[in-house]
Symmetry: C2
Subunit: 207 residues, 2 copies
Amino acid sequence: MSGPASDTSQRILDIAEELAQKRGFNGFSYADIAERLTVTKASLHYHFRSKADLGCALIERYRDAFADSLRAIERDVDGAPSKLRRYVALYDVVMRQDRMCLCGMLAAEYATLPEPMQARLRGFFDANERWLARVLGGGRRAGELAFSESPRARAARLTSVLEGAMLVARVYGDGERFNSAARNALADLVTPAPASRAARRGGRRIA
Amino acid sequence: MSGPASDTSQRILDIAEELAQKRGFNGFSYADIAERLTVTKASLHYHFRSKADLGCALIERYRDAFADSLRAIERDVDGAPSKLRRYVALYDVVMRQDRMCLCGMLAAEYATLPEPMQARLRGFFDANERWLARVLGGGRRAGELAFSESPRARAARLTSVLEGAMLVARVYGDGERFNSAARNALADLVTPAPASRAARRGGRRIA
DNA sequence: GTCTATAGGCAGATAGAC
DNA sequence: GTCTATCTGCCTATAGAC
């Protein structure tokens, strides 16, 4: 959309993103960023007039990167189960860096955030769940997935278990805790017998 | 354990708990409590020397109240499905007050918390999941519940979906979002045909 | 774009009177 | 137990030189 932001702006966002994901948006200050970038706080205000502006830029960049990842999944893999595994892998990358999903973290701080950040946060979850709902609905029609709610409700529930698993796993510093929850959440969603799926597609019926 | 804390201490904790659940532990100050209680900040420091002390007291009281609720469930209802429904209702009460689970909120802020609070937070989740794992394991042995992981892993996953659903539902200000996720999470756990359960207990076999 | 300097406010915390 | 007064430090943010 907008032109290529300056390299310094990007590095500020990189540092702010890590801090926000590890400590929360209220858990870091311009001084923390300035120290790691070895510039002064005043310089940061040149790039992002206020912390609210920085926060908005943070969400927008995260949202765009996430959207790119979802497009890459669509491009690279077929089948809802594979797409979901790739989707979960996006969260796993974050966990391995000892971070929380940026938007999950901001969700906790929601009541304290400036309104423009709140609006962008809702936008993130909306887009995320629209994509998931589409994959889930398609997978169910193809017989690859099984669930009883609406695709949108199932998407919300899947988002919940992934965000919640990250949240609690960080208390234990245990990424495997997240992986176990994610793996089993997918297993509950994918129809048990892949062989029978292939057979059904061919019109054959299996008890 | 300790003697009855003063009435003022309890009221301080009531206010701090609400603020912590709505805004996070880093999202409120002694000034916020002082204003609502119409006392001075200095008075608060008489009851809780430091904010870290207040935070520890907050978790301990929450943990004890939660443990009481779990004992009440054991006392009042039979059967794992009913126990789980009552368990979920504990979360629902919190959601209806537009609050996040205290310990879920603190989990997000974990990296910024003083170590004594971190230790108590782990203790909360440990106790919580030990209880859940026991109910889940018992329910499976009784044929009331079905799941493939260990009871402990399933307990962790159930905790995750409930905490995550609260987290995201607050962004939308939509308690029904939480309810939908919770209801369907339980449905996935409870064996489909109660009639067949009763029959199986009697030794009869159903296809 | 980055700096120095500083404003103005709020944080958690303490001393000591009552 | 609660108060007034105060301390120290950090916060976001701005002015203006370079």
